[in-house]
């Protein structure tokens, strides 16, 4: 796992959507960017799980930052909660992108693969926001 690029975390209510989005990023962008998936609630059903989001962020953590893509409301709220529970030095370097999850993930990963900063990665993903 390279540490010199912004990492990407995909948070969906569905574990399959999260994993499938990671697969699409891998196929379309390649493997230079660290991408992690978090999907499903703590009981394994549809939902999101703060502990699993924290684990995903840690997995792709880079000093350059981590961009998080989310699907519906609870995924965003739980991701915000997860970010607040990170070590203090990390918090400002993990951002949630206001973008559609699949398209946003591909665009964010493309920008990250090109060596973009966290702000550039976020801005590229957010160009897709409705």
């Amino acid at each position: 796992m390279t540490n010199s690029r912004v990492g990407i975390v995909i948070v969906s209510h569905s574990a399959e959507v999260a994993r499938g989005t990671v697969d699409m990023v891998r196929q379309m962008v390649g493997h230079e960017v660290s991408v992690a998936a978090s999907g499903g609630n703590p009981a394994g059903g549809l939902g999101t799980d703060v502990a699993s989001i924290i684990a995903a962020i840690k997995k792709v953590w880079s000093p350059r930052g981590v961009a998080v893509l989310v699907d519906l409301g609870g995924a965003e709220t739980n991701s915000e909660m997860a970010i607040e529970m990170l070590p203090e030095a990390w918090r400002g370097k993990v951002v949630i992108c206001n973008a559609p999850i699949v398209e946003g993930a591909v665009m964010a990963a493309t920008e990250a693969a090109g060596g973009g900063t966290l702000e550039q990665v976020r801005a590229t993903a957010e160009e897709l926001a409705p």
């Binding site: 703590p42 009981a43 939902g47 703060v50 409301g73 915000e80 909660m81």
Partner: protein
């Protein structure tokens, strides 16, 4: 007001019991305007709280509330996890170990504000805030009558009923637009249930009334 570990255990038990026993109703309400998981999610969260009840009850009130909130955040899974989790964590941060009524009111108000910030929401948007804010308002202005408990219950009930005609603009219910009108909000219902559960315990043990004079 001094809360001993027995009282803390009863409070935790009463909150968990009411949400677990209303899980089906909450899920039905959520199925009408959300994604149909509120009851199950709250049940899972409060079962986790119950599993840790003895440990929680042994803690000073601020630590109890913070850990209580963390359990909810970590186990509920839906949007209500961080929202209820934030409420209890913020309450724990703001409340002293042996709060007076005024201190309780101030901490409760701060916890409601923390939920607003977390959900980027306010009252009138068909959410739990429509119950919590009126309750906070009564707590903060306790001089308007003598039966505080009855006025708190009335505030919670009125807030819940007021969500029925509202059109949701937050959360998944907002996707339904006009179709969300006419349904009670499930988060407002779970908040109202919690308010009643806490008051039931305090009324059985008149600590609430006692707190008014301290």
């Amino acid at each position: 007001m001094k809360l001993d570990s027995e009282l803390k255990k009863r409070l935790i038990g009463a909150m968990a019991e009411t949400l677990i026993s209303h899980a089906v109703e909450l899920t039905d309400l959520d199925r009408a305007i959300g994604d149909g998981d509120h009851g199950l999610n709250m049940k899972r969260g409060f079962e986790a709280v119950m599993a840790d009840r003895d440990n929680l009850a042994a803690k000073p009130l601020p630590d109890l509330l913070k850990t209580f909130g963390t359990h909810l955040v970590m186990t509920i899974g839906g949007a209500s996890g961080p929202l209820y989790g934030t409420f209890f964590m913020a309450l724990g941060k703001e409340i002293p170990a042996e709060p007076t009524l005024a201190e309780t009111a101030r901490a409760f108000g701060a916890a409601v504000d923390a939920v607003k910030a977390r959900g980027k929401s306010n009252t009138g948007e068909k959410t739990m805030l429509d119950v919590l804010q009126p309750v906070a308002d009564v707590l903060q202005a306790p001089s308007g009558g003598n039966d505080l408990s009855a006025r708190l219950r009335a505030a919670a009930d009125g807030g819940l009923e007021a969500t029925r005609p509202l059109r949701a603009t937050k959360g998944r219910a907002s996707f339904l637009g006009e179709r969300s009108i006419g349904h009670l909000d499930p988060g407002a219902r779970s908040s109202q249930l919690l308010v009643h559960a806490v008051l039931d315990v305090f009324v059985a043990q008149p600590a609430l009334e006692g707190a008014r004079s301290t």
